[in-house]
Amino acid sequence: MVLIQFVNGLMEGMTLFLIASGLTLIFGVSRIINFAHGSLYMLGAFLTYELVQILAPGTLWGFFASVIVGAAIVSLIGVLFEVTALRRIYGADGLMQLIVTIALVLIVRDVVRMIWGPNSITVPMPDALAGAIVIGENYFPLFPIVVFAAGLVIVLAMIWVIYFTRAGILLRAGTDDRGMAALLGINERMIFTAVFAAGAFLAGLAGGLSAPYGEVNHLLDTTVIVSAFIVCVIGGLGNLYGALAGALVVGITKAMGVMYFPRLSMVLIFLIMAAVLIGRSLGRQGGSAR
């Protein structure tokens, strides 16, 4: 039982990481708190739903192809939003950017509702992933294991891009010292747009990958954004490895918490978040922002 709950937690943790990775990436580089991240996630899920029906419902390749194409479309939508709205107010107070992303949340929610209606939809599970690995009396469902593996691939891909490619070097330069990067002739705007595209892609990917495993409806955005924030904060905003660690901590604590203090599940993660933040302030006298 403890083992299964641990695995359950690990699986949820990876899903949470997928959700949070894009958010933390965008914040790390552009300092934008993207409230619309959950909306992009939701769009990913709905686009996967549509694409799966066109491509090949029930098949493995059909599902993954739909997720990737869906995420690419979400990425384009993200870029469109960044270029038309966000870019115009990079100079203004950071809170203005927050309000712009909140506006996007409202818009996306209603557009999704207009297209797909208020009822939940079901994204079919690929037949090959519907089963479980059964060891004795213990069931380990296949689908979350595959999502976990996909998450690992994404982590490795992100590490590779950030540390071993030219794009990654520019990115790190931009994060570490914007002014210096600009002096060296790095086009900051290009980086911001590219990062927003990548963040939106990750959001769409997470939405598509998780879609068959839960309910998809026009209210998915709020649920997702709060979990994503928690994970990012626990891991340290803008810190990719931190997000991974934070996601796993949250996932495992939630799953284990069900066994020991079930009624606390709702407060538990906020308590962890508060504890981590307070711990951070104790660790650093003066508690500066980063």
Partner: protein, 409 residues
């Protein structure tokens, strides 16, 4: 001082505005629909509203209520109690509605019920079903035109009790009022009916939880013959989808709320067997009278989908109100309230529906059946359905009086 009402242009404007609303014999009967059209309740409320619109058209085609035209005034309470109270007040005071309805969320329902009680305008609920509205927060202008949460849980217990081979039952509920009330009522009735059954202590996932694997694992760990789950929406869908990977539907049975919209949204993801659903008014389980058939056809023609439980209840609720008004020969609040417990109404859900004067509860039925895929529909429906008449499920007046007294403390 600043009261300009008694003179000047403002008074003139007021008089002009108010003129149209003066209650006259030929003025329309106004139905105020303050429903949760956006937010968590949007899907249910939309189905309800769709049916209410059909009902209003039908009433008007037949000459309205008491020969007066019926007019529907719609407001969005946004699934927020404060917003609900606000629009309810606006509908009553400014729009001068004759009856208030539409609400879905329990919190919004109690907020609107308080306004209805304060301003003495009839209010009936056809989705929101918290029993608090019948017990400590009961006010005489309220009635509940469907089975409340306790009655539904009783129906589930009655159904489960008949499964002689089920000896251990695990319970689960969303961690809020509805989940707790349902689990408590289910356990209470089942213990009475089947003292031999072991009921496992309930677990309460947070509202809207979608990562259900830890809860599935915990429930299955007790090796139950069935799991009673007072879950809804995202949590329920996640339980069914994620449960399959754990062999949930090979290892145990699930008893849960399963209205038509849930059946439709689950679609092909519904397990082949071992899911039992409690429903309020599934169209396929109603006695297929000409009226029921006509309603289903009309609904399908208008909205290209089958009516859900919420639609049937919304329509039935409106028609019940119309019947009460015809009986009272008036839409005056006190006459209506007197009439609702005097009439016996034959609606889509069956004959002899009436409201108990003591707590405003209608003897509405509940349905429990087995989720099955059938060739006639592209979504699973409930089969082996048992319809539980409302009378047998209603909490006795004595018990309610006792509960009211206990809540006062």
């Amino acid at each position: 001082m600043l009261d300009l009402k008694k003179g000047g242009l403002a008074a003139l404007a007021m008089a002009m505005l108010a003129g149209g609303h003066a209650v006259a014999a030929d003025a329309p009967v106004k139905i105020g629909f303050a429903g949760d059209l956006t937010g968590a309740c949007a899907a249910l409320t939309e189905d309800e509203l769709n049916a209410v619109k059909i009902g209003v058209d039908e009433l008007n085609a037949k000459g309205g209520i008491l020969g007066r035209k019926v007019e529907l005034v719609i407001r969005d309470s946004q699934t927020k109690p404060d917003e609900g109270a606000k629009v309810a007040r606006e509908l009553i005071v400014d729009e001068k509605i004759d009856v208030l309805t539409g609400v879905c969320s329990s919190a919004v329902m109690l907020a609107e019920s308080a306004v209805s009680g304060e301003l003495k305008v009839p209010f009936y609920a056809t989705i929101g079903s918290t029993q608090r509205a019948n017990i400590e927060l009961y006010q005489p202008y309220f009635w509940q035109a469907q089975a409340n949460a306790t009655m539904e849980a009783y129906a589930a217990a009655e159904y489960v009790a008949k499964k002689a081979e089920w000896k251990t039952i695990a319970t689960m509920g969303s961690d809020y009022e509805w989940g707790h009330t349902s689990v408590a009522a289910f356990s209470e009735r089942l213990k009475k009916l089947r003292p031999d059954v072991t009921i496992i202590d309930p677990i309460f996932p947070k509202v809207g939880e979608t990562a259900m694997a830890p809860y599935i694992t915990t429930a299955l760990n007790t090796k139950p013959d069935a799991v009673f789950a007072a879950l809804f929406g995202g949590s329920l869908g996640s339980l069914i989808k994620q449960g399959q990977g754990f062999g949930f539907f090979q290892r145990t049975n699930l008893v849960t709320l399963m209205t038509v919209d849930t059946l439709q949204s689950m679609g092909s993801a519904m397990p082949a067997s071992n899911v039992y659903g409690i429903a309020r008014a599934p169209f396929f389980a109603l006695e297929q009278t000409p009226e029921v058939k006509a309603f289903i056809e009309k609904y399908r023609a208008a909205y290209k989908e089958y009516p859900t439980d919420w639609s049937i209840n919304g329509y039935d609720g409106l028609m019940f109100y119309a019947a009460a008004a015809e009986h009272a020969k008036s839409v005056a609040p006190d006459a209506i309230i007197k009439a609702i417990s005097e009439i016996s109404y034959d609606g889509l859900r069956g004959k002899g529906l009436k409201v108990r004067a003591f707590d405003g509860q209608m003897n509405a039925p509940s349905y429990v059946g087995k989720a099955t895929k059938v060739p006639e529909y592209d979504f699973p429906i409930l089969t082996e359905i048992e319809k539980f008449p409302g009378e047998a499920l209603m909490v006795s007046e004595d018990a309610i009086a006792a509960a009211r007294k206990a809540a006062k403390k």
